[in-house]
Amino acid sequence: MRISFTLNGEPQNRQVNPFDKATSILAEQCGQESVKTSCAIGRCGACTILVDGKSANACLLIAAKMDGTDVVTAEGLGARADAIIDRLRQNGAIQCGYCAPGLLISLVALLERAPDGDKLERQELETVLAGNLCRCSGYTALRKAILALSS
């Protein structure tokens, strides 16, 4: 089938098998190396992208469902991610970085959802980020960076 969607603001029109995964379409066909394949079954979060503003596992998103959507990858976040990146840098929250683009997507979705002035509770942060596995950092610096950013 043919699908059209926007990728980081650019219109895309592609011939796909409806059950291809968004991971292969984005990484292999569209050159979005930020969409990492690690578990391929939605259990690690390394391929997290924004679909119509909400986080999604690209490995659990079939091509047919991409039709008509607005897709944003970490490569396309631009200035939306600046403040978060600064905080993560200051706290040393990232190590090997393989989980980082997916994590950044989840953080952008979370912080853009929370209305201004709302303080992000620790438990809510943990609930929202539990699907982004990081094997390096132990999460301590990440939690510190983000809770401080939202308060």
């Binding site: 979005q32 190396e33 930020s34 969409v35 990492k36 394949t37 690690s38 578990c39 391929a40 079954i41 259990r43 690690c44 390394a46 990858t73 970490a74 490569e75 976040l77 991610a81 990146i85 993560l88 840098r89 706290n91 040393g92 990232i94 190590q95 090997c96 970085g97 393989y98 989980c99 980082a100 683009p101 994590l103 950044l104 942060l125 943990e126 609930t127 980020l129 539990a130 699907g131 982004n132 596995l133 990081c134 094997r135 390096c136 950092s137 132990g138 999460y139 301590t140 610096a141 990440l142 939690r143 510190k144």
Partner: protein, 738 residues
């Protein structure tokens, strides 16, 4: 200062890992792996696969020199199964094809017949007379024997004696980046881009397999998307190189997670039976240890892991006598290998549990008990070897006692809580025999940067930022004047493996050793160009300044110096800090660390939650504080997984957890805030001045968590990870069921 280089690129996804950004026309590599854990290969016919359109290479053991085997102490592993398969998931053949679909079709065309052999699944059974042999040499891969004093007699003098047996999990490194890479052939050689801790070692291994001179193999080993020891092992590099060399086309081969869960080397499960005793005053008199290790199918780093575990089994304590035995048994349960903590994690957890049990039995506070028994500052090492003195041990004990008291959990009907401690030490670098020495290069490159070139690798631990900090502290230069070149065999100098917590130590000592000779060359060059005496010059940000004429701009920029004088290069070689001892492998440089952990136990479900963790590493002053903290907190989370959630079970040689829906690494909700309290004091005459941060946090955190469980339950765990089933069983036996 950043904890890691490339942080923003990593977050934005523009950072390139080694299996990304393949050249146009790269072939898709794929593996045929064994469905059986132990079998004879009766037939293997790849002719149909080879003739499929779009297939450019199909390789099997027949394409590898018949005497080519891999390993460290013991060479026993072929890159592709030869005559026999010894674990489920072992590669039998590999293909390179134009697309994934063609590669999959080619795999399906490979005809093979496996004749099952009896499966060796328990290490104890493996060592039985009648057990099926994995290798001709038998199933005892290696063993360890050591004794000091007369343990049997000393037990007679003990006022308190306890024994405890601990079984530890098969923990999977489970880096987010899968094992894989890209190999690009040229007419005369190959470029191999695949994660390794040891670019030069990998280079000579691959060169010898392909029959190429070393110089025709270029290995780029980092950046790495997480390793923890898992990619210290040779993984798919030989198969990848073989495919590309055969196909004469670039090939990309990356494992799928389900393949990785079977293929990747794991932490060895240990069964550790300890007996320890102390006198009335709480002084440790005797220790006997019998350790049995499930090595899996190939030796890999198993012998070194066993040796390190046995060397550390006394933790940081002075036992009057010890009697130690360790055995490493081949089984068909995957392959055990290097994993952060390296055998010491298992034995330290066991001994620290035993120490707490004994302290409780002797009615002595566990911290006081540790202090009574701490090895002396100038004592020989645990196996009687000469070591760098460890006066910091008592400082670590002081710091542990001085931690602010926990805010106690509110007692409730439902939850129990407990606090546990540990104080441990582990050798840094490799045992005597090495490789402990290293080479590196300080160079003023043509673009005017002072560059430290080494074959050390960056895997997220912050090596590059640490090197940059060392360069800035060593030379009065600006951030733009320095560069760190890592991760490849291009360095021209083999720095040895980036493992065993040695990376920072090696970088620091290399730069320290090279600094004066390198500076001298720079000054000589600058003086000649500026036609002034050397002592009229000062190196500063951007280049050389004439002392008499202070100004904002250098009188000779580094790039002008390089342009006139050419590249200025100082090759540096440092010897290893090591001693050797007859009969046993020993370390010389030790790192100490203490930890405190809190747990909460749910009496209804048996579930254990880690509620707090303090780590007190005695590594000297951190060179890159953020990276240092990151090493500790990351190690804490892996220790938590080791104690509470992670295990790869095998049933009759079958891998049970094939992905992250059945193998559970800790999420952000599982890991508490981990507090790091560096103990920065080391002896003023310490020959290094720092210790590596890579492993020691893990080695202290795990026993502290295990001891916290023991303190909450009044019963020491016998198996890790702690299973809710076991917790409920203990509570039932104690009559404490809700």
């Amino acid at each position: 200062m950043n904890a890691v280089t490339g942080l923003e690129e990593k977050l934005r996804g523009t950072f390139r890992y080694l299996a990304e950004g393949q050249p146009e026309g790269t072939l898709h590599g794929a593996l045929l792996t064994s469905p059986l854990a132990h079998a004879t290969i009766r037939r293997l016919d790849v002719s149909a696969a080879r003739s499929l359109n779009g297939v450019h290479a199909v390789v099997t053991a027949a394409d590898v020199p018949s005497d080519f085997l891999m390993g460290t102490a013991i060479l026993d592993r072929p890159p592709l199964a030869r005559a026999k398969v010894r674990f489920q998931g072992e590669p039998i053949a590999a293909v390179a094809a134009e697309t994934k679909a063609i590669a999959d079709a080619a795999l399906a065309l490979i005809a093979f017949e496996l004749e099952p052999l009896p499966i060796v699944s328990a290490p104890r059974d493996a060592l039985d007379e009648g057990a099926a042999k994995l290798h001709d040499s038998g199933n005892l891969c290696s063993d360890f024997i050591y004794s000091r004093g007369d343990a049997r007699a000393d037990f007679e003098d003990c006022a308190h004696v306890i024994d405890h047996t601990l079984t530890t999990p098969r923990q999977v490194p489970a880096a987010m980046e899968l094992e894989g890479g890209i190999c690009i052939p040229s007419p005369t050689g190959i470029e191999l881009r695949a994660a390794t801790h040891s670019p030069f070692y990998t280079r000579s291994l691959i060169a010898s397999m392909l029959g190429l001179p070393d110089k025709e193999v270029r290995v780029i080993g980092s950046p790495i998307g997480g390793s923890y020891g898992g990619k210290e092992e040779i993984h798919i590099q030989p198969v990848l190189a073989l495919l590309a060399w055969t196909a004469r086309r670039p090939v990309r081969l990356v494992l799928e997670r389900s393949q990785s869960m079977a293929f990747a080397t794991t932490r060895h499960p240990f069964e550790i039976a300890l007996k320890i005793g102390c006198d009335r005053a709480g002084r440790l008199l005797a220790l006997t240890a019998d350790v049995l290790v499930d090595n899996g199918a190939y030796a890999s780093f198993g012998p070194e892991v066993l040796d390190t575990g046995m060397e550390c089994i006394q933790s940081a304590y002075a036992f009057k006598s010890v009697s130690l035995r360790g055995r490493l048994a081949y089984t068909n349960n995957g392959v055990g290998g290097a994993f952060r903590g390296f055998g010491a994690l298992q034995t330290l957890t066991a001994i620290e549990l035993a120490v707490d049990i004994l302290a409780r039995k002797a009615s002595i506070d566990p911290l006081a008990f540790r202090r009574i028994n701490l090895a002396g500052a100038n004592d020989p090492g645990p196996l009687g070897q000469a070591i760098i003195p460890q006066p910091e041990l008592s400082k670590v004990a002081d710091a542990l006692s001085a931690l602010p008291v926990w805010r106690d959990e509110t007692p409730s009907q439902r939850y129990l809580s407990g606090t546990g401690y540990a104080l441990v030490r582990k050798g840094e670098g490799f045992a005597g025999g090495g490789p402990n020495g290293a080479s590196g290069v300080l160079a003023l490159t043509l673009d005017g940067q002072v560059t430290f070139q080494s074959s050390l690798v960056e895997m997220g631990q912050g090596l590059e930022s640490t090197v940059r900090n060392i360069l800035l502290a060593s030379f009065d230069l600006g951030d733009a004047d320095i560069c760190c070149a890592t991760g490849s065999s291009d360095a021209g100098a083999d720095s040895g493996p980036t493992s065993a917590s040695r990376g920072t130590q090696i970088a620091l000592r290399l730069i320290r050793a090279g600094k004066m000779p390198f500076l001298e060359k720079l000054y000589v060059g600058a003086a000649e160009i500026l036609q002034v005496p050397m002592d009229a010059l000062r190196l500063g940000p951007g280049g050389f300044y004439q002392r008499m004429a202070p100004q904002n701009k250098p009188d000779l920029s580094l790039s002008d110096l390089a342009a006139s004088a050419g590249e200025i290069v100082t090759r540096i070689d440092i010897p290893g800090i090591e001693t050797t001892q007859a009969g046993v492998k020993v370390h010389t440089l030790f790192t100490a660390c203490a930890a405190r952990a809190g747990v909460r136990i749910d009496r209804w479900t048996g579930q254990v939650v880690c509620t707090g963790l303090d780590l007190l590493p005695a590594c000297g002053p951190p060179i890159s504080p953020l990276a240092f903290h990151g090493q500790m907190t990351g190690a804490g989370a892996q220790a938590l997984g080791f104690c509470l959630t992670e295990h790869q079970p095998y049933e009759e040689g079958t891998v049970m957890a094939r992905n992250f829906d059945s193998y559970f690494i800790p999420t952000i909700a599982d890991v508490p805030d981990i507090n790091v309290h560096p103990v920065t004091w080391l002896a003023p005459d310490d020959p290094v001045g720092i210790r590596g941060a890579g492993e020691i946090g893990l080695n202290a955190a795990a026993p502290a968590i295990a001891n916290a469980v023991a303190s909450a339950l009044d019963a020491a765990p016998t198996h890790l990870p702690v299973r809710p089933e076991w917790v409920l069983g203990v509570l039932a036996r104690q009559g404490r069921t809700p």
